[in-house]
Symmetry: C2
Subunit: 486 residues, 2 copies
Amino acid sequence: MRSRISWTLGWAKASRGCGADAASPAGRAPNPRPVGWPVVNTRTLVKQLAALPDGPVTVAGWVETVRDQKKVQFIILRDESGAVQLVNPAVRELDPEGVSVGAAEAFALTEQISALGHGTFITVTGQLKHDERVKLGGLEVKIETLEVVTEAEETPIAADSSLDKRMDWRFLDLRHPKQNLIFRVQTTFLHALRTYWVERDWVEIQTPKLMASASESRAELFELGYFEGKAYLAQSPQFFKQMAQPAGLGRVFEVGPAFRADPSFTSRHATEFTSIDAEMSWIDSHEDVMAMHEELLVHGFTAVVAKHADEIRELFGVEVTVPTTPFPRIPLAEAKEIVASRGYVVPRADADMDPEGERQISAYVKEAYGHDFVFLTDYASSIRPFYHMRREGDPSITNSYDLIYNGVEISTGAQREHRIDILVEQAKEKGLDPEELGFYLDFFRYGVPPHGGFGMGLARLMMLMLDEHSIRETTYLFRGPTRLLP
Amino acid sequence: MRSRISWTLGWAKASRGCGADAASPAGRAPNPRPVGWPVVNTRTLVKQLAALPDGPVTVAGWVETVRDQKKVQFIILRDESGAVQLVNPAVRELDPEGVSVGAAEAFALTEQISALGHGTFITVTGQLKHDERVKLGGLEVKIETLEVVTEAEETPIAADSSLDKRMDWRFLDLRHPKQNLIFRVQTTFLHALRTYWVERDWVEIQTPKLMASASESRAELFELGYFEGKAYLAQSPQFFKQMAQPAGLGRVFEVGPAFRADPSFTSRHATEFTSIDAEMSWIDSHEDVMAMHEELLVHGFTAVVAKHADEIRELFGVEVTVPTTPFPRIPLAEAKEIVASRGYVVPRADADMDPEGERQISAYVKEAYGHDFVFLTDYASSIRPFYHMRREGDPSITNSYDLIYNGVEISTGAQREHRIDILVEQAKEKGLDPEELGFYLDFFRYGVPPHGGFGMGLARLMMLMLDEHSIRETTYLFRGPTRLLP
């Protein structure tokens, strides 16, 4: 039987033709293969054309525009990496005598290009030519063959469509270079964060999103039927990343979804969002968490600036810079005084900030210190969850912080209370039932190191980095009270 | 106000004492700081001791055992990186004359160590001494001060506890070096996969887990109340990773949770699991997906072998090796013949394999080719989802595969049908309602490149890599029909 089993890619080549009517352009030119691009692919990415010599290439993507002039036709072809001009000298009449070799094909190609609709996916073979006169990248491809892979119905959205309509057609909206760039920047940013952690021996965890009880509060909780009983969707990985501390994992991180049945329609809230979480053992206070947090962000911003600063400037008009450390730290009570001295008295009965206060303190920090970030520290115990550790000697405040970036809160961090008797007291004081918290409280009965961490919203951070106005722009598929589709 | 705002870590040092009763041992020795370890931490990890010279150190972790001999006391202290022997010459009697300096302290320390319970978290300062006679790593730490950070109740599990009982106390179970290693190996593996993708310009996506309809099938679907309506938990990111293709993102990956209301109690099934997903544009067939898939796995295994081969051998008795490429490929029908020729006729009415058949074909491949992996290809259309592309010229089979690793299926991959008319036909043929699939079918109406990808179960892969017998061992917190806690 041995001979019938295929071991090499020769099998794939032999069986080419599967899906070939749509997928496989015949006679692809043997392109120079860019280093690092998987061997399975024979097309050239648009961004790789600049480095290639004049000669045969295959490109593939979608038709952004067609300029169908009398004597010459231009196609702007876009793929995930950029846009390129394709050119074809129009042959408008079929040579009735059949004198010119290839005249029928040239006429057919001209007709084919004239019929191309916006959004059509095509594969083109042709001759790459570097030419400084071409505005778009200083190069163009003279078309030899053009294959229509899939045709496109007329696009339902336009450049000036409402955000809501663009969300309806998110898969078309994402074709815009700005939207594409958001997710490439996000990829770079997340990978830099994870690399920071992995290089320092942190452990990645995947905590369950199905829970037997609420993780944060009874409010804003999604409930589902679970076989004979009920389950709840995790509002955060809080309990489970803390579990890693008595489990002896030391330092853990997770990037995963969190769910809040939040009926708000603000630019900053979603019912499902990606939460970046870290939790570390053996801290002395929340200051250790902040020191790691700012170092981590520097790592992420450094990677983004190195790879994308030019593109971001071009498409968003934003100059992303690497923040300096340490970030400014201001105790919350003092921040409220500063804001009041600027003429804004936070209209809240409790000790907390509000969004306008966050904008104001951020503006102050920007003016006074030129910094985009500020840690607000020492939040009152009355406005923090029961699991935040309270200050030794002053239990009215917690060892906690919020991180404000360009005027918006993106993260909450804290040292956690790890002493079981105090933890139980704090839970009772907040009106929680220690019985229901039983499994969580157990984490503290068998030995646990002092620890702390933070949770940070990815879409908010990306929104503020790129000066966008809603997390709908920086979420792959936004979920809100009236938005479950697509 | 400027002067009141703290800019440096000096603030943290000045305010030491927050949580200090539990967290901050007084008078920590100024340890040499290992390169790459965050500046916020002054303890030394156990695994770093070997590289340090004799002298003062601070270590912290939990008490694994105490050997309380008459003349000398030994503590085995474990942290996330390993175990170390701590030693103290016992002083069993209080010097009543007060002659010896420090005698009272020495007596108190001895008493303190005698009282230590298993699992207690402690911080110890002392003198590191390299000594070849010490079996555990050839070094020990002579205790100078010992601080109990948190005491531990008596552990409710033992080495021979049932798997189910260990799951009840997962946070204690994870303290075992084997369990700890599983998650460090997983961290290395996942980071290597992501690095493979990121270095090749793939885009990371976070697809929503809240959906308006089923993603795979009406069966095994979790439903929840969603404001005035209903939502469903994603059974896979299938539709949304495909959405990235008409969206022009090119090549995308995701590592995230997936949910199945699966009532099975097998060693391979969970109601929530971590799915590794990839989807790529411009493929010619599923062979392009397989070529990427095997290259990706080689990348992951190479990283695991480089970092953990010795530990895995020691703790699991397993020799992890990097698989060679290409992996063997066997069409499914042929695999069933091979299995039958070995005496096992798959007892199924349909064209599919069964778990025993997968074990048998895997055993065959191991015997014949010495390979742990095998791609079973060309699954019948009758047993594949509507969105798998069928073979050009033979629509009875699909351009799809399963990947079998050490006898168990860990992944399904395929080229997707991207031609809308054929896709609608295939959906209808499977008894699906194109109306309900509307948002998904829309992805194919406005231009889309040929594409394909795979989904792969992380816990299964880890289970098979480490020769464990259940995904409960390789899942941080397992979720099953009767398991929602902790």
